[in-house]
């Protein structure tokens, strides 16, 4: 029953560089909208109970939160067109309060939709080839990847074709819709890992062998949550055409043997730990033998078909240095400062990628208004090819800006609150919605982010501190990636009061932490909310005193361990606020 795709008006010509739905994709998304509407109708009529509807709506990204439902929409591997972003803005206006929130998993969330509108929202999304499929629930979630895919100079190959192939494979996979727990897959294919790949249930690194063939390094069992673990390699050199069958084998072993008795021990990382990586790998290989040359074997034709969509748009031939741009950099200090943080390298001469910070002081990290979304969509067209990216750091990227356009873009961005020059710095905080929105929270996280931003509002000081990741989660679920923060803050609950535990030395695999993937170490007892800016200040002062030439915060922690930081932070009571007796279990 092929429903008419809801008013699809995409022009493929405008969209060089992005996957475009064919009849199959359209039909699946349209059938999903019809299925969801029917489920919602039965729920409202009382023939689907709350318990029966919950897993169904979660697989459509719909949570019931503190204030209202929350709808999470997938931005597969972080790639968006300007048309899609405009629709996200329209949805924010039409069904929500005029803003939305970019998450750490390349999704976007609406905090205030009405349940009865959710079917219409999905239909509007379908009209621009978007959906909320499997953005929550115990199934394979949105596939995430490198936000600089296709433009980064250090790229080995473009990870997006494989990410799209995996997106399709995992969408409504009949066998893996009711896994023990959620399942996250990331794909990375550059020298720098920008996708926190080692913190995923499956992490795939695409590499090239000596003959130029694509090989896959397969990690399993990474994750955050209350048992943070860095994934382990279970397979090297897997030929690319076996990717789907290998992932299928992993999922079948997990689906059959992962724990289902305790939600906190249900992730694949617990199974891998219990069996040991070698035994787990053995079971996967044993399963895979039956699948490896079967129908799931990828074909060159299919890979090439998908890859063709991601072929770079035609860039102009530009000089690699733009004299006018150089002059503006020299003359205009605020512009220079912004460019120093926001502008990233591009493989085509004369072009740059621009990271728009969604972290100005006082705005919840990752929040963006409908008006800003529309502006960004306009810029993506004026200063690029109508395409943009979202990052797991909760920022937005314009991937193809000419050097000669940077100044104009900056001026416009400034007029719309999108030119904060803090990318990669202390105030570019990764932060979950926390107690302000989330019913699972132990503590608020957004006000902590804001308090730290206010304390460190001196840009010179921020730049002097340099590259650092500060990540905040409102509870052990770790949505704010605190375990992987160079500084991590975790909200904990003590007798009904909100406290914060601090860890240092985590790293997400990116070059900010010199490529390491590591779990932060807790420095000691927790603090009350109003102590947090001072605690961070003491950590930073300790670093500045200890640092040698060119050392970043994370380097010093690596060299000295946590001891000097701990000593300094606890030397005197912080802001006369008493400390909680002991750290909550880690």
């Amino acid at each position: 029953m092929a429903h008419a795709a809801a008013g699809n008006a995409f022009d493929i010509g405008e969209l060089a560089g992005m996957y475009v739905y064919d009849q199959i994709d359209r039909t699946i998304v349209a059938e999903r909208v019809a299925q969801y509407r029917d489920q919602l109708r039965r729920f409202q009529a009382g023939t689907l109970s709350e318990d029966e509807f919950r897993p169904l709506r979660l697989q459509n990204g719909l949570y019931i939160q503190k204030h209202a439902p929350m709808l999470r929409v997938a931005i597969p591997y972080g790639l968006l067109s300007s048309t899609q972003l405009r629709m996200l803005a329209t949805i924010a206006r039409k069904y929500d309060r005029g803003y939305a929130h970019f998450t750490t998993r390349q999704n976007i969330q609406y905090n205030w939709p009405r349940l009865e509108d959710t079917g219409d929202i999905l239909a509007d999304l379908a009209s621009v080839e978007m959906h909320a499929i499997q953005t929550s629930g115990n199934c394979v979630r949105n596939i995430t990847s490198d936000e600089f895919a296709g433009i980064a100079p250090d790229e080995i190959l473009d990870p997006r074709p494989m990410a799209e192939i995996l997106r399709q494979w995992s969408t409504f996979h009949p066998e893996f819709a009711f896994l023990p727990r959620k399942f996250k897959i990331a794909v990375s294919a550059a020298a720098e890992d920008r996708a926190a790949t080692a913190f995923h249930d499956i992490g795939l690194y695409l590499e090239k062998d000596a003959a130029g063939g694509i090989r896959v390094r397969v990690l399993v069992g990474g994750g955050m949550g209350r048992t943070p673990i860095v994934g382990v390699v279970i397979r090297q050199d897997l030929p690319w055409e076996h990717t789907l069958t290998y992932v299928e084998a992993i999922l079948r072993v997990y689906n059959r043997h992962g724990r289902r008795d305790n939600m906190y021990k249900a992730r694949i990382k617990i199974l891998v730990k219990a069996l040991g990586p070698d035994e787990f790998a053995r079971q996967v290989e044993e399963e895979w033998v039956h699948l490896k040359d079967g129908a799931g074997l990828l074909t060159r034709e299919e890979y090439d078909r998908v890859a063709a969509y991601f072929v770079a748009p035609v860039h102009a031939t530009l000089p690699s240095v733009d004299a006018a741009h150089e002059a503006r950099l020299a003359d205009d200090v605020p512009f220079r400062r912004w460019a120093g943080r926001a502008v990233r390298p591009h493989r085509v001469p004369g072009y740059r990628a621009v990271v728009l910070s969604l972290k100005p002081t006082g705005v919840p990290p990752g929040d963006v208004t409908a008006d800003q979304m529309n502006r960004i969509a306009d810029w993506a067209e004026r200063f690029g090819f109508g395409e943009l990216r979202v990052s797991h750091e909760q920022n937005v990227i314009l991937p193809d800006v000419r050097l000669s356009d940077l100044h104009e873009l900056w001026q416009e961005a400034r007029a719309h609150g999108l030119a904060t020059a803090n990318q990669g710095l202390l105030t570019d905080i990764i932060c979950c919605p926390g107690g302000d929105f989330c019913s699972l929270a132990n503590a608020k996280s957004i006000p902590i982010a804001e308090a730290v931003q206010r304390r460190f509002d001196d840009l010179d000081y921020l730049h002097d501190i340099g590259e650092i990741n500060l990540n905040i989660s409102g509870c052990m679920n770790s949505c704010g990636h605190h375990h992987a923060g160079h500084i991590g803050i975790l909200g904990v609950d003590k007798d009904g009061a909100e406290w914060y535990q601090v860890s240092i030395g985590g790293a997400d695999g990116s070059s900010a932490g010199r490529g390491r993937s590591a779990i932060g170490k807790v420095i000691g007892p927790s603090f009350a909310a109003d102590a947090m800016p001072e605690v961070i200040a003491r950590l930073i002062e300790t670093y500045l005193e200890l640092r040698a030439d060119g050392e970043r915060f994370i380097d010093v922690v690596e060299r000295t361990g946590i001891a000097p930081f701990k000593t300094r932070v606890y030397a005197t009571p912080v802001a006369a606020v008493q400390r909680a007796e002991e750290a909550v279990d880690v």
Binding site: A2, F10, W169, F172, F178, H290
Partner: protein, 173 residues
């Protein structure tokens, strides 16, 4: 008599599901009956003469243990103690694709209409829809997605081997 969906029709269910209490006699009741895996494995030789005995398997049990019995079994049922327990999907898939079972494969337990499309695709062809649900209304959910991406039991080929991808046949409104 209760009803089930067999393939794409609602029919009367002729099978009893035998769920003996722990510690009770392993005797197999008369009539069409599905017995627990353990009873089957313990008495396969005795029961084998009866054509009215099938088996049901719990999600933690290994379908490989049935491998040698499959050609003698008219019905294999897989129990879903909770509809969110997805192990039965892998068990069904293995029975069909790996162990070659071709008889009736039935989902029992907490079987809800919204699971039918997935159950069908991994290899089930009979569905004991939970009694409080409208089994006739459930029929229309048997095929929710008309052109799935992946191979499973049904369809055996993924979209990229089954149809020409990359086309748009329908005129956008």
């Amino acid at each position: 008599m209760s009803e089930i969906i067999l393939r794409d029709r609602v029919v009367a269910d002729t099978w009893q599901i035998h769920r003996p209490e722990a510690g009770t006699s392993p005797a197999v009741p008369a009539g069409h009956v599905l017995v627990p895996l353990a009873i089957w494995l313990g008495q396969a030789d005795v029961i084998a003469s009866r054509s009215d005995v099938g088996v049901w398997i719990a999600p933690h049990e290994d379908p490989a243990t049935l491998r040698d019995s499959l050609d003698r079994l008219p019905v294999v049922a897989v129990d879903f103690p909770k509809f969110t327990d997805g192990r039965g999907y892998s068990i069904g898939h293995l029975l069909r694709t790996r162990y070659g079972y071709r008889g009736e494969l039935r989902a029992i337990g907490d079987v809800l209409p919204d699971q039918l499309d997935y159950l069908r695709r991994v290899g089930f062809d009979a569905y004991a829809v939970r009694a409080d649900k409208d089994i006739r209304d459930a029929l229309r959910l048997l095929t929710t997605f008309s052109e799935p991406y992946q191979n499973s039991w049904e369809p055996p080929l993924p979209a990229f081997r089954r149809v020409a991808r990359g086309q748009v046949t329908e005129v956008p409104r």
